[in-house]
Amino acid sequence: MPRYRMMYAKEGPAKYISHLDLIRAFERAARRAGLPFAFTQGFNPHPKLSFAAPLAVGTAGEAEFADIELSTNIAAGVVAKSLSSAMPEGLRLIEVRPVAQSAPALMAMVDRAVYTARAVLADPPQNETLRGAIDSFLARPQILVERRSKTGEKRKCDIKTGIFMLSASMNNDIIELVAELKTGSSGNVKCEELITAFMEESGLRAREGFALSRRALFSAGRSAREMLW
C-alpha cells in the first residue's frame, strides 16, 4: 500500500487537541478529503495512521510528522492539496512526500526535539545572570525531576542525559528558553519538566505559564541529526 509522510503544524486552537483526538481529526480530514484509506484488519478496522511523537496538550507544534497509508497510488501533491482543504482550524499541512513501504516507522526514527518556551518573568534578570544560571544548571551531576508511575506513585528521574542543549535569552521581561531534548519511546524528556527543574534551580518566577512550542523533530542521523523525511 502506498505510504505518505505528512509534515504539519498544530497551532492556535489545535494546540489543545489531545493526541487521541488528533488521530480522529486526521482520520476525519482524510475522509472528507475523499482519500482512499488503507484499513487495519480486525473487529474494529481503522485507517492506517501513525504519528512520530505525541505532543503535550497546550504545546504548539511547528513541524510535526505523521504517516498515512492509502489503498491506491495518488500523487503526493494531490494528497497534500485535498487534505489541506479538509483540516480543522489550527492544523496546517506543510508538505506531503511519498515514503517507501520499507522505510522505518516514524516512532522508531524520532530521537530528539527542539522546543522553545516563552514566559513573562516577575523579576527579569540580567542576561549574564541568566547565562550563569543555565551553566550551573547544566553543570549539575544529576537533574532530577518527579514523575508519576502508572499506579500514581511518585519517583525521581534523572533527565540530564536527555538534555542535548539548553539556552536562554531575555527580551525585556520575556524569557525565551530553547532546548533540544531526547524524544521517543526511551529516555523521553518532557519540556515542562525541564522548565520546572530549571526555574526551581534558578529561582526565577514566571508571571503566568510558559507558552511552549515544539519547533522540530529529528532522527539520530549518521553525523548529527536529520529531519524525519
Partner: protein, 616 residues
Amino acid sequence: MNPQLEHILSQVKKPARYTGGEWNSIRKDWDRTEIKTVFAFPDVYEVGMSHLGLHILYDIVNSRRDATMERVFAPWPDMAGQMRDNNLPLFALESQRPIKHFDIVAFTLQYEMSFSNILYMLDLAGIPLLSSQRNEGDPLVIAGGPCAFNPEPIADFIDLFVIGEGEDVINELLDLLLAGKQKKLKKNELLLKAVEIPGIYVPSFYEVSYGADGAFLGIRPAHPDVPERVTKRVVKDLDAAPFPLKPVVPITAAVHDRMMIEVFRGCTRGCRFCQAGIIYRPVREKKPETVLRQAAELVNNTGFDEVSLSSLSTSDYTPVLDVIKAITNEHAGRGVNVSLPSLRADQFSMELAREVQRVRRSSLTFAPEAGTQRLRDVINKGVTEDDLMGAAGAAFKEGWQAIKLYFMIGLPTETDDDVAGIARLAGEVLALGRKSGVPRKRLKVTVSVSSFIPKPHTVFQWEPQELLGSLRSKQDALSSQTRERGLVLNYHDANLSFIEAVFARGDRRLGNVLIKAFELGCRFDGWSEYFNIKLWLEAFRLAGIDPEAYAYRRFSYDDPLPWSHIDTGVSRQYLVLEHKRAMAGAVTPDCRSGNCPGCGLCPAFEIEPFYAGSDL
C-alpha cells in the same frame, strides 16, 4: 485567542472544550450581523455536542444572512473557577465574546437535573438569574426542549419558552426580534408580540393561584392578549424540514461521536410511561431517498466513520432494512458503518443483525422495560419474552457477545415478583448466550435499571413516584439476584430520581428551591460526582418546600395540574382512558396498526402519521 484565555486553558482539564474552531463551525462578522443568538447547552461540551437539536437550530439560524448562532456549554468546575479568578465572563465558542452581549441566549431543556446548570451558566455570564431582575440591556433568555412541556419549575429564570418543535418557530421569533429592534420595542412590548406566535409561552404574563393549604389551584393569563393554553408546534413534513448536512464536528470526542440522521420523529407505540412518545406525536417518517442523500452528504462533510439512524424506535422505521443495506453498500468502502440506538426486541431480525455489523460491530441494546408480561402489559410495552429471546438468540448467532438490557423499577402496580422477573429474564438471556456458544469469558449481559419517574403529559402523570426506601430495597433485591458471572447490574441513584421527579412534576414555587440549591453549590447534578442530595434537601428546607409532596403526590383525574396550560395535542380523555386500561392490564394497539387509539392529536393539528414506503 486572547492571552488571558490561553493562560487559563493551560490550567484546566480538556481545554479543547473551550477553544471552538471546529470543522464546520461558523464565525460571522459580528458588526454586520443584526441578530446575535447563542445556543446554550447546560452540560459539558461532549454531552451538548451530541445533541441533534443544537445542530438543527445552528444550521437554521446561521443560514440566515441577518442572524448568527454561536454555542456555549457549561464549563467544567475547574474552568469555572479559573474564569471567576480571572474575571472572565462566560463566552461563546465562535467569537469568544461574553454571552451577555448577545440578543438571545437559548437554553435547551433536555433533562430536569440540568436546571441547576442554567443558573450556574447565567451567573458565570454575569446575567441576572431572575427574568424580573433583567433589564433592557440584558439578552432575552429563552428555552425549549422536552422539559419545556412543564416549564413552571424554571419559569422565574426564562423570559420565553418555545413549546414543541423549534424548526419553524425560531425563524418567526428572529423575524419578530429584527422588527422589534428596528422599531426599538421595549422587552415587554416584544414579549407581548411574541405570544401571538403559536407555541410561545411567556411565563411572566400568567399568574398562579394556590389554596390556603398550599395546593396548586391553577394558572391563568394575567393579560388580556395572552392565550389560556399554549399548543406545541409541529413540523408537518420531515422531508422538507431543514436538516444540518454540515454539522459542527466535535474537536474532542463527544458522547455520541458520529453522524446523526433522524429517520423519523414521533413514535406509534404508546408506551404509557413515555413522555417523548406523547410530545413528539404524530409519527413522521423520512423517505428513504432523503435519508440516503443526507447520509452521502454527511459522510463527505464530516468525515465521521459511523452513521446513527436516530429516532425514538428506529427498528420501527418502515424501510429500515433497505436503508441500512443501501448506506452500507455505498459507504462501507470508506470504513463507514451504521449504528442503531436501543431496539425493540420484536422488530429485531437476523437480517438486521447482519446488516448493522458489516463494517464494525457496535453495541446492542434492547429495552424490555419490565420483568414480567403482566407489567409490560400495564405499561403497554407490547414486547414478549419470546421476542426478547428471539432477538438475543439472533444477536448471539451473528457474533455478538455482549447485550445491554434496559429496565425500570417503581412502575405503577409493580410487585416483588415483577422485580424478580428482571433478574430472571437477564439470567435467561445469559443462559441463551452460553447455549449459543459464546465463550464464557466474553459473554456479558448488562442490565441497566432506572427508577420510574411519572412525567407530565403521560398516561402515568397522575401516579406518584415510588417511595425512596422501597426503590432502594428493590435495587438491593436485584443486586442479590444478579450475582451470576457474566451479568452486570447498573442502577441509577434513587436520590437523583427523587429530585428529578420533584422537578418533572413541579410548579413555579420550585424556582426558589433552585436559587437556594445554586447558592449552596449545586451544579452538574446529572453527574454522580457532583450530585449531592444533602445540598438539595437543605435547599428545599431553606425554601420551605416539602419535596415529598411533589414526588409522592397522587393526582386525581380532576386535580389541576401545573402543566395543564401546555397543550401537547393529545386529549385528556385519551390519557384518562389509557390510565384506566393500564390499571386493568389492557394492551392498546400500536397506532401504526390502523386501529386508531383516538389520542386526538391528528384532528387537532390537521395532520396524519406519515409512513415511508421503500422504492430502494
